[in-house]
């Protein structure tokens, strides 16, 4: 009998400690704090690089010293897939792909929190909470534009690329929207607003654009000069990198801005519901509380414009589900491939 109990306990521990997940190929995986028991570990599945969230997680651990946080990083599309497959394995899901997040909440995967003080436009169903505002940016290699004016709009970028098409061939980059959820979100929102997007894609396609999974890689390559221009890069990542690396310029297109909000929610099947709620409240408070955290955190805060409205931010509402539609996505990707892959 005793043996059986020990066996079962061991099995349970192995499962909850993420035994089978060990096989998962994480971009990053880090445990904050020292758990008093295996039970007291929050599991956060996220598309955000660890450095950006580390100060907030550490703040949470300081306030809850008995708890540990296991922070698991993967791409947005991947995170969505993993979470849908096993919503009980994660307590919190953080992602920059607003559309995927909203659809998860709509499909009933999120737990609603009572009484969170948050702007109406920055949350959905009291479940999904936005905690950053981040622009999509153009990142340019300064050396490549030496003695020339930096293009400030998409149209100017098109012109600049066309003028020196031989120079730029094979040296431009953007998201592979088929693989990246955030890339797909940026692309669909761009396409919704303006035809310019398609023309830019055709030009970049003609230049044999490289396709990336993640903003980090794009910024690296622009800095190193492997590519000279990258479109729809996460402005916040670029800004963070620029603090120690001045070889590239960040342009926020002035024709129309595309602003994304990073969002998080508590899994409806979370096994540590109270702690997960507490973490999310901590996260939201840190990102909106009068810039308290903003100074120390590399993560941009939720920008509330003077009139309290969302500004140019992609709205957090059911319209996000439109491009998540299977048929619509297929049509969009076909069109995108036609433009980009030539």
């Amino acid at each position: 009998m005793r043996h059986i109990i020990v066996l079962v306990t061991a099995l349970v521990l192995w499962v909850t400690a993420g035994g089978p997940l060990a096989a998962q190929d994480w971009e990053d995986r880090r445990v904050f704090g020292t758990p008093t028991s295996n039970e007291a570990t929050l599991r956060i599945l996220s598309s955000t690089d660890t450095v950006f969230l580390a100060p907030i997680i550490e703040g949470f651990i300081r306030a809850n010293p008995d708890w540990a946080v296991e922070y698991l990083v993967t791409g947005t599309a991947d995170a969505d897939m993993l979470f849908r497959a096993a919503p009980d394995r994660y307590d919190i899901l953080i992602s920059s792909a607003m559309d995927l997040q909203l659809k998860l909440v709509n499909d009933g995967y999120a737990h609603a929190l009572d009484g969170v003080e948050h702007p109406e436009w920055a949350m959905w169903r009291q479940s999904l909470f936005a905690f950053t505002s981040e622009p999509a940016a153009i990142v340019l290699n300064r050396a490549a534009f030496k003695g020339r004016e930096l293009p400030q709009t998409r149209q100017e970028l098109i012109t600049a690329l066309r003028e020196r098409s031989d120079y730029f061939t094979g040296r431009v980059g953007t998201y592979d929207v088929r693989r990246s959820g955030l890339g797909y979100l940026f692309a669909t929102q761009d396409a919704r607003v303006s035809e310019t997007y398609w023309r830019l894609m055709e030009v970049m396609g003609a230049l044999n654009t490289r396709l990336y999974c993640c903003s980090g890689d794009m910024i690296d390559d622009v800095a190193e000069g492997r590519i000279l221009a990258a479109y729809n890069v996460l402005g916040s990542y670029a800004a963070a990198r620029q603090e120690e690396d001045d070889r590239f310029a960040i342009i926020q297109p002035s024709d129309f801005p595309t602003m994304m909000m990073r969002t998080g929610f508590v899994s409806v099947q979370s096994v540590h519901m109270d702690e997960a709620e507490a973490f999310l409240r901590h996260l939201v408070a840190a990102q909106t509380g009068q810039g308290a955290q903003a100074a120390t955190s590399p993560l941009p805060p939720l920008a509330v414009s003077a009139d309290g409205s969302a500004g140019a931010i992609i709205p957090l509402d059911p319209s996000l589900m439109a491009f998540q539609d299977r048929l619509k996505r297929r049509t969009f990707l076909e069109e995108w491939e036609n433009a980009v892959i030539q």
Partner: protein, 455 residues
């Protein structure tokens, strides 16, 4: 007055309750109707938006190369945004196979002749409002039925409905309170004439039998009419019976006087002792009857005057003095001293004829029941209250049933063969009573009866 009336309920309360009850029923009905109507309107609003979204998707469905393409506009979904962030589910079917959207989302049956079908369904653990519409697409060599269904939770609707319900409830409660207040006021004003009538009748003097002359509401007219008739009949029968008594007494007295005269005449001429005794008995009986008739007449007069009492300022001393003067011849026949003592002037409000009658009866008794060569004292004093005391030196009242002597036709054993009817003290008592005073009989320690009239 009210203690001998049987009371069942109150008109005013009944009126108030029926008004308030009516108001409550009205307010409740108002609440229910307004709520269901507003719920209907709110539902209509959601249905319209869902219908528009479904139509906008269905509009762009086309058949290309034998395959259905639905590149629906972004707005189809953005229009479904609600303040409560309602969840949205959708499905697009080609014939019976799911093209895209949520699996096993039901389709709302579309009534024949209608473009849209509406239904409320359970899906994903909640209740949803579902709208479906379909269209036939014609390709090169096939026809296909495309059905678009969109469903939405009803959180915003529930919020709106709760708000409306609360407002309507507040409105209903206010309406009810107002009508309740109004019904108190209404019943009070309705009942007011009845109160006024009661007051005017209560305030009347005890003998005022005149008809009610103030105008009354038409509903009260029959009641007041009957009341007036009743009072008129009462007054009539009262007067009639008093007149009748007076008339009867008068009619009896005259022939009695004749009989008495004849008997006396005969008595003078008859010698035989037994005949004389018979005649004496006869004369005595006649005297008794005559006295009774007189006293009855006086009593009737007292009753009548009491009913229509006319008070004036009267000096009791002067009144007693006059009586003493009138009766002293009778007193002298019995060698009785009739003495008037007391204050100089004692004034009261009253009816002189009645008071005279009362005091005369007292002196009359004193003279009648006192022995010869005795004293009768009349004491008229003003303090502490106006009083008339008549005392004699006779045998006094029979002590065992003294107070009963004031009852009608009651005479004491000491009356013996003194002529009398037993009404004298009754008259005195009634006269004092109508002047708000009292009569008191007593015997003096040194012998003799005393009667005190206090006003």
């Amino acid at each position: 007055m009210a203690e001998n009336v049987h009371i069942s309920g109150s008109l005013r309360r009944r009126l108030t309750f029926s008004l308030i009850g009516g108001a409550a029923i009205l307010a409740a009905t108002l609440y229910l109707v307004a709520r269901s109507y507003s719920a209907q309107i709110a539902q209509q609003g959601q249905d319209n938006i869902l219908g528009a979204a479904v139509s906008s998707i269905l509009d762009v469905a086309i058949m290309r190369d034998g395959a259905v393409e639905v590149d629906f506009p972004y707005a189809s979904f953005s229009m479904l945004n609600t303040p409560s962030d309602d969840r949205v589910f959708y499905a697009i079917h080609q014939d019976d196979t799911l093209l895209t959207g949520y699996e096993d989302l039901p389709r709302a049956p579309i009534p024949v002749g209608e473009k849209l079908g509406f239904a409320t369904v359970e899906y994903a653990g909640t209740s949803l409002r579902l709208v479906s519409a379909s269209r036939t697409l014609v390709g090169a060599d096939l026809r296909s039925q495309v059905t678009v269904s969109i469903a939405q939770t009803q959180d915003a609707l529930a919020v709106a409905q709760n708000r409306i319900s609360r407002n309507v409830a507040l409105f209903g409660a206010g309406f009810f309170l107002l009508t309740a207040l109004l019904s108190f006021w209404a019943s009070a004003t309705t009942i007011a004439p009845l109160k006024r009538l009661t007051q005017s009748i209560t305030r009347r003097g005890p003998t005022d039998l005149s008809p009610v002359s103030k105008p009354v509401p038409s509903e009260m007219a029959p009641l007041v009419g009957s009341l007036n008739t009743l009072m008129a009949r009462l007054e009539q029968s009262l007067t009639r019976s008093e007149e009748f008594i007076a008339e009867a007494a008068h009619r009896v007295r005259t022939p009695l006087a004749t009989v008495r005269a004849h008997a006396e005449n005969t008595y003078q001429r008859v010698e035989r002792e037994d005949n004389r005794a018979a005649l004496r008995a006869m004369m005595r009986a006649v005297d008794e009857s005559s006295r009774a008739a007189g006293q009855l007449l006086d009593h009737a007069m007292v009753t009548f005057r009491s009913d229509n009492l006319e008070k004036e300022q009267i000096d009791l001393v002067a009144l007693a003095g006059e009586l003493v003067r009138n009766l002293s011849p009778v007193a002298e026949m019995k060698d009785i001293d009739l003495i008037l003592q007391g204050d100089a002037v004692v004034e009261i409000e009253g009816d002189a004829i009645l008071l005279q009658n009362a005091i005369r009866n007292l002196i009359d008794n004193a003279l009648k029941y006192s022995p010869v060569e005795s004293r009768i004292e009349l004491n008229v004093t003003a303090t502490p209250r106006p009083q008339v005391v008549v005392c004699d030196q006779g045998p006094g009242f029979p002590p065992d049933r003294m107070q009963a002597l004031t009852n009608r036709f009651s005479r004491g054993e000491n009356a013996g063969d003194t002529v009398g009817s037993g009404l004298g003290l009754t008259i005195a008592r009634d006269v004092v009573a109508v002047h708000g005073g009292s009569i008191h009989l007593s015997n003096r320690a040194e012998g003799g009866a005393c009667v005190t009239l206090s006003f």
